[in-house]
């Protein structure tokens, strides 16, 4: 993954993870797998894990320890009311940004074309 892509993802991954949790609670590996299915191919499991810990500490998700056949129990994360509000804010910011950036892209794109 390119450096620029990594940096951009860093700012949005939180919202992306909350969005996947909004559809269904999941544990760390499931979330990574879902993201990979969605085309975020190079996301490391540890990155998602660290992010889950962060959003847990900030009270955006509820955590339940579910026993697994092998190994330690899995922590299953689900979006709570605070997280849902945060996710709503994320989408608003996202829509604002995409609209502005797209407009900027069109403007600068047109300027470039005039020069040709």
């Amino acid at each position: 993954m390119g450096k620029q892509m990594t940096e951009m993802l860093k700012g949005t991954l939180e919202g992306i993870v909350l969005a996947t949790l909004a559809t269904q609670p999941a544990y760390g590996y499931e979330i990574t797998a879902r993201l990979r299915d969605e085309g975020f191919a190079d996301i490391a499991e540890g990155t998602v894990y660290a992010l889950l810990i962060r959003i847990e500490q900030r009270g955006l998700v509820d955590v339940e320890k579910v026993p697994s056949e092998k190994g330690p129990p899995r922590k299953v994360y689900s979006l709570n009311a605070v997280g849902a509000e945060y996710l709503d804010e994320f989408w608003k910011s996202w829509n604002f940004l995409t609209e502005r950036i797209e407009r900027l892209h069109n403007h600068t794109g047109n300027t470039n074309n005039e020069g040709e």
């Binding site: 760390g28 499991e45 540890g46 990155t47 992010l51 810990i53 500490q57 330690p72």
Partner: protein, 121 residues
């Protein structure tokens, strides 16, 4: 720095016990998970500014959870830590920066600028 990291644990016996448990969990991991976990542990000693025992114990036990899970699932080390192990380590440690020593300085800076702003108002 390493000494200080350990000293923070001498605060309570319970924390000491939990830290020992964490060390045992890491030792019990099969390779290459044990070696990887220890490499991160070393880096945390230099990077991590966590100074209170509670936060530290929570952090290391979460860290042990991650590696135990990975070894049971047989997840390759690379797909756990990604292309940038340093970035992963620092992201991980930052999740616990709620009570870092830098907080005092952050507050001092914020207050100083608030004061400056008030003077100008």
């Amino acid at each position: 720095m390493a000494a200080k990291w350990i000293e923070t644990l001498t605060g309570s016996l319970e924390q000491k016990k939990q830290y020992k448990q964490y060390k045992a969990r890491i030792e019990a991991l099969p390779e290459p998970y044990r070696g990887s976990a220890k490499a991160f542990e070393r880096y945390f000693m230099y990077y991590g500014g966590v100074t209170d025992g509670d936060t530290l114990v929570t952090m290391v036990s979460d860290f042990a959870d991650l590696w135990e899970r990975a070894s049971v699932d047989g997840t390759p080390v690379r797909s756990i830590v990604g292309d940038d192990p340093v970035g992963f380590a620092e992201d991980f440690a930052r999740a616990y920066d709620g009570k870092q020593w830098i907080d005092k300085e952050r507050k001092r800076l914020t207050d100083a600028i608030d004061q400056a702003t008030d003077q100008q108002a």
